[in-house]
Symmetry: C2
Subunit: 366 residues, 2 copies
């Protein structure tokens, strides 16, 4: 046998044997590479890190065959256009906050936070067991998107104020950097909502161009140093009693993704939904202690202010529901669970937590 | 060439070709079948369903190559021997509560619940971000086990009582069906802890053989109908402010599992850790409403009783730590985070929840 025919025979033999073994693998594990554009800067490392962890898990779960490349805002598209770019098919998927797009339709707000809505455990219960994620996907489908819940910050702080506020009258003319539905609600009480990118907040607060600004919570806020120019740190951020982070996938891309990769992506997102919250919950307490140690003055919003905001929020929802049946259907569904969930919370969870918080105040947990 | 040498050559040829092409597939996706023995009966469908969901996800994530068969208690081994059977290698893995084994070493309690320990969000934060899961695995390794967190019930109720209890004196001689560390702590206050399987609780309460019994929370308790014989439903279950469900894998089985299957199992467990809690959080509120509608009398434990139990718990931990450095190391680690976590909780989360609970009480969430 000459060398040439030897090679032909053996390589043919290998090809034939390979042809018997390979198809199942080739069909179930094609190479797929997607890009994910995040709306969050890398400095919000807990959220951005969540996107990176999704990519890592998906790769590990698919033997490296399904790769997701994670991009910061501006690298592919601007942060607030992430979902639009995905809907248009410019990018395969994004990590974003649904309420960034609420100007197009208030229904978008629900996928991240509705002021005075569910808290974090409640929202996960509603999304996962109560059919909420499916209800929202009926809406996202009309936007050419498939949505997957992939994170949460927990309840946020109310933000940094240059002066103390006590009454609803103190809100009049207050220039407050706050976005989305909260801005619309607060404007009913005389607040002048401001839209300012994260990097411009500090100088605006320093100069007094704005009177107050909200960001996230102790761990993220600490890095920006707002306390040097606005020492009053108000709570709670009633507009984000829970803030869901969403992954959106272009609907055509989703429909053509192999079944095993869909499971890998969904399961990775489900895991990160928990681990992002865990990261905030572990890092916020230490950050709060550091902030208080350097002189931050934590202040609760007064009952008068909270009640006025609650009433203004309900008025806003009534107005939206008068003309938006999709928002109405979903919000009414949430509201029914919210009432019974907050009744139940007063028993085991609050009974436990309130006793433990009392021990903490009395120095008994040290 | 005779038939025999043809077969020898061709099969040898295929084997040789296979040796070139197959290893990546064969190594990364071998057929593996494991059995999981649960400590929980099928009637606890949220917990048992969690084990079934882990098996389903793992199968889907591995193209059906890694199968986990889920068994109820008694089908393979008795429920309270699940971890022992896994450690011995009789069964590959189990779903159980770590504190069932605390008689062997109090350190076992920490993997499910230490009375007056962390609440559910805090415990996930400590386990996932605070290094708690790794700390516990150092201990489980000495037991020939690899542990993976795979669920939580949230804060539990304090149980069903035939008569009201108001003072510490009322605890004297109380025959209470309660297990684990809580039983040891309560016995310091005169309670006589009882160990009774779930199915025997009802007749024991009916006859007055026992005075009280704890189970889980509204959704699970409702099915057992304890309210007909013990109408006072106390809260909170301070011994389970959070109750972690653990999966344990035999250490040798874990070490020889392909890397991709390890990721699949861990990610599936991480997802189910969230979805089990979500299921409880969605179903408990409606169950509580039904229980109250049929006459159940919900009662908070008095401040006097809670404080006496808190002090007895601390005394118990001091005693354990005097001779158990592993328990001491882990519990001190938890306690440091617990203090700052309960400080932080008083700001955004409690600020939000307390306002919302007030609205609920005032009928404003309907």
């Amino acid at each position: 046998m000459d060398r040439r025919s030897f090679l032909a025979k053996t390589s043919g033999g290998i090809a034939a044997a390979g042809a018997l073994a390979a198809p199942a693998v080739a069909q179930s594990a094609p190479k797929v590479t997607w890009r994910l554009t995040s709306s969050y800067p890398k400095s919000l490392d807990t959220i951005f890190g969540g996107a990176e962890r999704i990519a890592k898990l998906v790769s590990e779960l698919t033997d490296g065959n399904f790769k997701i490349q994670v991009f910061a805002p501006g690298e592919l598209v601007p942060g607030f256009q992430a979902a639009d770019a995905v809907a248009a098919g410019t990018v395969e998927m994004c990590q974003t906050a649904s309420y960034y797009y609420w100007g197009k339709d208030p229904t978008w707000a629900i996928g991240t936070a509705v002021p005075f809505g569910l808290n974090t455990r409640q929202v996960n219960a509603w999304l996962q067991t109560g059919g909420g994620a499916d209800l929202l996907n009926e809406f996202y489908k009309t936007q050419n998107l498939y949505g997957i819940v992939c994170g949460n910050t927990g309840a946020q702080m109310g933000g940094w104020f240059r002066k103390e506020i006590h009454t609803v009258g103190d809100l009049k003319g207050l220039k407050f950097r706050v976005g989305g539905p909260a801005g619309a609600i607060l404007s009913k009480l005389g607040v002048v909502p401001q839209q300012i990118p994260g990097g411009d907040i500090y100088p605006a607060l320093e100069k007094g161009t704005i009177d107050a600004a909200e960001w996230v919570g102790p761990y993220d806020d600490e890095k920006l140093g707002f306390d040097a120019v606005a020492p009053f740190y108000y709570y709670p951020g009633w507009w984000e009693g829970s803030a869901i982070i969403y992954a959106f996938v272009n609907m055509d891309k989703w429909n053509t993704l192999p079944a095993g990769y869909k499971v890998a992506l969904k399961t990775a997102c489900e895991a990160v939904n928990g681990s992002m919250l865990a990261t905030y919950d572990f890092n916020n307490p230490a950050a709060l202690k550091r902030l208080v140690a350097r002189g931050v003055k934590a202040r609760p919003f007064s009952k008068e202010i909270l009640e006025a905001c609650f009433n203004a929020a309900n008025q806003t929802y009534t107005e939206i529901m008068a003309t938006n049946p999709t928002f109405k259907k979903i919000w009414m569904n949430i509201a029914a669970y919210r009432d019974e969930a907050y009744l139940w919370q007063q028993f085991a969870e609050y009974g436990y937590d309130s006793f433990m918080m009392l021990q903490q105040r009395n120095g008994k947990l040290k």
